[in-house]
Symmetry: C3
Subunit: 316 residues, 3 copies
């Protein structure tokens, strides 16, 4: 596994999931694998879970960690080719990334979409500059269109909790007040489908995700039908893909609450966090017994550790 | 010692002070106690001494450290119950804190008061969310009403320097230009009294601290009388507790200078830092031989290390 | 080597360069030299290369690292003597620095010039407060007038690449849009001259550097003449020293491009980064085979490691 930027980088999904589950049981079985190796964590955007869980994973493997908040610790990066750099960007990403590659053994990068220019975002400009110029393995800490460490942790969580071989998994759009990326739902969809799960996606008309990620899923516009008999409901807002970046607050009844939950098969309720209470999901659900959001977040350590461990083993 | 948020969490004060003194002599006697354990340091407010000294203490015990600047590295947290989160707070502290608990073995948190709403501040909302939801031991890095790591370091400093069993200790209000919390004086008072020391507090009328912290101290409004024969003077500004958060610059003669020092018994002059020179304390005193402010700051490492060591030992 | 703030602190330049070259071959030969020692990295200004490479160097020696972004992690520092601190600076550098010295074994500090007051900048106020009050070895991470870690890495790079004992080295001014410090060119000049190299400096009239740094170099105002037969060209903008801090965009033809390069002896092109493409240096050069800017940046690790190693050895 040279890089970890999407499910397509993973040669054997069940093997990686199993490794994460094993690491959760025995997190300190490989504490010298990463000795004298350095993980660089480059944040072009804020982070809590990813920042902390990936550091923890690296420490469990004996790695050193260098955290770099671009923009706050240094300066903004140019990504366009051939431009005369006489504006507000002091450095081109090409140089910055090549330099980072000199100082680290594995690099993680977080780079959100701008949500203005669909083609630019889905081209994954920043991530691709890392892949092209850094010269060391790259772990996505959430890119413009995907969040694979989250999806791996989600898959681990489902494997831990599922009661049947083929649970009904529903990805349900939810209300929000801001324009959020499609990265988490894109990634969740492609991971569930690649892992062979049945996935139903429900959302208001106009909130279709790109078919590149959802091909093979059932799209059900009637949320009540989608939720019927669901074993897992992944609740998540995303801004429009078609009317790119548009926010919809025209759908106030898409807050996930106890009434909606009662339509399911006592479904486990999932969310990647941060979650706005009583907008996305009600207090009643988040404080109740069906929420598994903290377990999901906890599994981020073991997902990251499985990825880093695989990369370190291949370096030996 | 499950948590360390006030002197009331300490089962045996002299024992903890002794441990800090021993650690100062031999700081590297327990360098494997914290191996593979992670300390999370969560800053909702700025920090220099606490940030650096607590990291150093953790390293001396072999721990890993994850530092998290909330607001700068991630986003602001909601603390109110039952609110519809459609404002500027992207995550509820309940989730954020529970997640942090998944990634760390001990957590430190700094959360200053707003100084607008006395009841809210003295209720210690943020600290209590950590205590309720984090699921691992909590170390206060200064909360709305207390700064126990500072007070422990202060007590260690006094033990190192006292020439008699019962030195006269004076806490003296000082001039300032901004509204400062009552946390340091509250904490200093309750630690000195709990340690069995005689404490005199002097301040202008209107700057009384809460009796919950000062019960047992002598309150002396006449600063000259208070300073007479003092062996230690802890100089510190705090905003009004009664007229909550009010700043007083009506008392220009409360800057602590050589003339005031001459009233004392060659007192050691203490301050928690940062200190505004020639507003709170004069250059003459800070650059003179009676100031022990750097020694106090240095002792922050050993105070933190004694606390972390006690917690780690109880985990074994 | 008590401190590392300029070439004048280095007792034996060839020895230090050799050590860096050896460390590059075997970076992990001294992984326990820094065990239980802490490096503090204090940034009063942004940093990417220095931040990451110095951390990496410290980890290679087994040190712990505490990174502190002044202003962002804490607050701004006063440097003036005798001032009544009733303004926006909450702490005097004297206290802050003395306290940092309590928590670290070696301290690095970055403090850029203001570029308003030449005398204040060239007096190196902040660096000197560190040297006076910190009580432990100081490594400059770029001060108002010098960047010695960069210059050492530059010298290592030249030693690696030179084909003759006395290559022709040219420091060439370049166009920019902002007022940049003279620290890098000052430092490069004094290191090259101290190492016994022949140095030619070329710049438009009005961009003379201080003779304190360039004494012994050839100053050639005609860039074409300067570039003739050059083996190394160090391209760098700096604001005016005489008309202190002034920016010149009156010299658009000072962008270093292929045409200028063709005047040289297939010169290696150097820059300390970050570099504004097509303002300072053209894409053609930066993406071509003569650019060694990434190699220079990579050598920052070994330069820092040689300095830290020397300091740690002298502590034993």
């Amino acid at each position: 596994m040279k890089n970890f930027t999407s499910v397509h980088d993973v040669p054997d999904i069940p093997k990686l999931v199993n490794e994460a589950v094993e690491i959760k049981k025995y997190p300190l079985q490989n504490t010298t694998l990463g000795t004298h190796k350095t993980l660089g964590l480059i944040f072009l955007n804020p982070s809590l879970r990813t920042r902390m869980s990936t550091q923890k994973a690296a420490y469990n493997l004996g790695m050193n960690v260098i955290v770099m908040n671009m923009d706050k610790d240094s300066w903004a990066l140019e990504t366009r080719e051939g431009v005369i750099m006489d504006g507000d960007k002091a450095e081109h990403a090409k140089e910055a990334v090549a330099v980072m590659g000199e100082y680290c053994d594995i690099i993680g990068v977080r780079s959100f979409p701008g949500l203005k220019d669909k083609e630019a975002d889905y081209r994954e400009e920043m991530l691709n500059i890392f892949l092209k110029y850094v010269g060391i393995p790259v772990v996505s800490l959430e890119s413009a269109t995907r969040h694979p460490l989250q999806s791996l942790a989600d898959l681990v969580t489902i494997e831990e909790l599922k009661k049947t071989k083929k649970p009904k998994i529903v990805l349900s759009w939810a209300l929000h007040i801001k324009a959020l990326p499609q990265a988490v739902p894109n990634s969740f969809a492609e991971w569930m489908l690649a892992a062979g799960h049945d996935l139903t996606i429900t959302h208001p008309a106009g909130h279709e995700l790109s078919e590149d990620f959802t091909r093979g899923a059932i799209i059900e516009y009637d949320q009540s039908k989608a939720l019927a008999d669901a074993d897992f409901v992944y609740v998540k807002n995303w801004s429009s893909f078609n009317d790119y970046g548009a926010v919809s607050n025209r759908f106030p009844d898409w807050t996930f609450d106890g009434k909606k939950h009662s339509l399911t098969n006592e479904a486990k309720v999932m969310h990647c966090l941060p979650v706005r209470r009583n907008v996305v999901i009600s207090d009643e659900i988040l404080d109740g017994t069906h929420s598994v959001v903290i377990q999901q977040a906890g599994n981020r350590v073991f997902a990251a550790q499985a990825v880093l461990q695989t990369m370190l083993e291949e370096m030996e």
